[in-house]
Amino acid sequence: MDGGGSDRSQTPSYDSDVPEPGAGGTVILAPTDSYADLTQGWQGSLHEIRRPRHSSGTISEITNRSKPELAGEKQEREKDGELKDKLNELQVTDDEDLSLTSSDETTASKEDEKEGGQTAAVSSGPSASGLTVIESDSEENVQTEAWRSQRKHIFVLSEAGKPIYSRYGKEDKLVTIMGVMQALVSFLQDGNDSLRCLVAGKHKFVFLNRENLNLVAVAKTEDSYHQLLFQLTYVYNQIISVLTYTQLNKIFKQRRNYDLRRLLTGSEKFIDNLLHLMDHEPSFLLGAVRCLPLPSSTRENIAQSIVQNANVKDLVFAILLANNQLITLVRMKKYFLHPSDLHLIINLVNASESFKAAESWTPICLPKFDASGFLHAYVSYLDPGCQTCLLLLTVDRDMFFTLSECRQKIVDRLNRYNCLTAITEALARTSYSISQVGIADLRHFMYKSKSTAQYTSPELDAPYTTKEEQERLFGLYLYLHHRIHSSARPLKILFHVGANETLLGWMTSGFELYTVFGPLVTKTQAITSINKLLKWIKREEDRLFILNAPTF
């Protein structure tokens, strides 16, 4: 087991000529750096504006390639059709202002108008007295102690200060507090500055200004400022994935005061679920996905079943998921799926019960892939227990029946080779426990292969069996990740002895490793252990990672 020389095991070292464990020959997902997503966001608004987000996106590129003559026209028609209903609604409200629709909405819109007036006054010429006026109202609306003491609040509001989403509590009860948030944001904007964060005790208040939307996190968790900002970016992307950037922009261009909740009705649950996942799943933090451990031959067989049976024109991605883990991903040559887009897909599946009832056909915008338009997803579970979910993503909105046929053929082949049984067994086994790794005193770890954006981590065993302990463990990882990925002072190694555990984090050009030991481990033991661990991962890499990226 200990093959390295003595000085090798003394030092955390990994030969950089050898690919890191989990590095495949071909890339399956677009590789990421942690926070890569954010670099544009926090560096200031300048290149944010210049980022080409719309114009001819990836989708039209694909459509163009397959139907050169009709492409442009076809794409236009497709988009228009998709949102026609929603747009109509917008048109109506535009003409008749906000004071129509049913009676209970009328009261809401009255409040809205009042609020709109207030914030407008503030943003046009904010004065100290303007701020205090709003402030004095807020007492009535502040909710119960239970609401106040939530660990992590998330709010989304429009640039006019209209509530769009609140993780806890009804948005329309939070009109005033969101008005204050907007007033603070625009006050600093007027001073040619921009609000990032407030700190009070354990609480952090993080503000993210995006075009058209402001997002605010109020948290007393272990998350750092950058980690919270990152989560807000995910929430923003989730909204884009429902509406597309083009649509969002168009709506607010037409009507700055628009109540976006009308368009997001029914999709709050996706944001709720996303936030829940981000509080538990390391994949978001790491910018990576976890694969369902499977023998490589089985995985290869599954991939082949898809490649052979779903090789239809305009199919961009075929994804097989189980229990938030990736089984395989087949992609069109030239096109990569960004992990954060895959996270939104995982969230979509995770949050939807309806997919279990029948084959479904749903539009989804993947912001990293193309924020300007929708892909169309055929979604269907393959097993009676509804654990293994197949998604086929295409640019063609009329392909449902073709893809439904593909699904049947895929299932047939998977059954012929007993692949579905293999998946069910793998799911029943639970991933793997730390004891299988066989390193004394190592309690838990997360390993990310950077080039493939995949990570592996054992199940949570003792002492991390209660919710509190699991939260605490996740907090330790947040700390380790935060210190190591500090944008100004990044670290290569971080060793930390706390009251209950010893932590060791290690960055190389190829991988990120976060380990949790018992409190009494010595430095020598810890280093010997991680060298052993890397060897173990290397040995298991076929099972833990997707090393080959099949393409159509």
């Binding site: 500055d193 670290l491 002895v497």
Partner: protein
Amino acid sequence: MTGKSPEKTPVSLVNFFVFNSEYGPREGEEEKKILYYYPPNTELDKKIKDVGLCEAIIKFTETFSDNPCEAMHAQKTRQVFHQPEKDFWMVLTVSIPSSEKEKDGQSYMEFHEDDVQDSVFDAVLKQAYRMFKLFMGSFQHILEKGTAQNLKQRLDHFFSRYLQTLKLNQSDILDVYCGIHFLPLDKNTYLKIQCLINLLEATFLQVKYTAFLYNDQLVWSGLEQDDMRYMYKYLTTSLFPAYMEQELQGGSPYSSSTNVTGGPSTSHYGKFVTGPPSLTEPQNFGKIPRIFVNTGRPDEECHLLVYRALSATVCMLIEGSFQIPFDFFKSLDSFLGPQLSSLASDIGEQYARRPPSTAEPLFKYVYFNYMNLAQKTTIHADSNKKTAGSVSVPPDIMRLIGDINADISRSSNDDNETIARTQTGDYWVVGKKSDQREFYVVINQKNANLIEINEEVKKLCTSHFSNIFFLD
């Protein structure tokens, strides 16, 4: 680590203000809330807006948090908040360092938010209040004796000078500690000093508290720790340097080294740093600062009389109500002069006998003891005056120490160890806290590994802190 951008603007003071929202609760009365605002030539409208924004932020954070707002981070500025007394808020705003960058052929300003650390500027702000309190008493104390107008005048009087002395760009972990350098001495000398002070306090009953320093190092103090902490800061960063400068320039015509004035007294080196510049001029009492301490009772006003012989200094806090007659100075001089001169040369000899530090060690460290506020540093060449360029490790490494310190302060357990290896530059920073003592070691060594670094630190602990138990 951000080595590619050498042209960073320094952290600088944007504004500083003190307000009390209770003073102008009605609309149109906002001006009354502002007790002090720097820079003073700011338009009233802007002052009112800035205070209004802070009020809004404080209220907003209260909606969620039981703890008061501490900081606001913006792209270009950082603001720290402190509520030293009920309803009184102090706010300090500093600029975020920026540098010009280029992307796609267009230049833009990059702001280095991470260069500004809340813990450091929070300490700078709290220190500003404590210094005010040392010289002026608490806000409440001033208001008990006078009006809000008096308070405003005092704030203006004090801060218009104090703010000029801030060196924000050089603020670091030492501001967070605000510690004291102690001079360790052998038992005999220490007892002699104690003896002298006891005799002094017994002979001159108006002397309520005494402190003894040698150069910039504290030997003995009869004050509460917190009083001593800020008085020490004043002595070492302001009073002593100004006095030394004056001495060097021969500003005082009476700076002859011997003082053979009053009849029978023998020749000695003693003279008043605050108080009469010469004992032959009975009409010139010199300047004696008044300070407020909380050792015996809150806001106790005292005269701060400082007497020095060679490198030894005795600080005497004399009852504020006592009108010091000129004879008092004369008696003090003849009592202290000879004894202090001989003590000073004793300590000087002991000092000289110490082996000079051998070759530049591989590591630099900073140490702080939370129990007695003792502080040591080999990172700073000159920890009190903070001359530019006196810090021997890169700024990012200093800030990394600040990061680890902030983590440790937040952590609930008392014993901590953190070892960090930077991604570039081959720097290792080791932070340890054990039994209320905290220290950081910086090692710059190529190809070192965790085990070797650990060994180095162990060696350092045995050689420099052998009497302190650190968990391994």
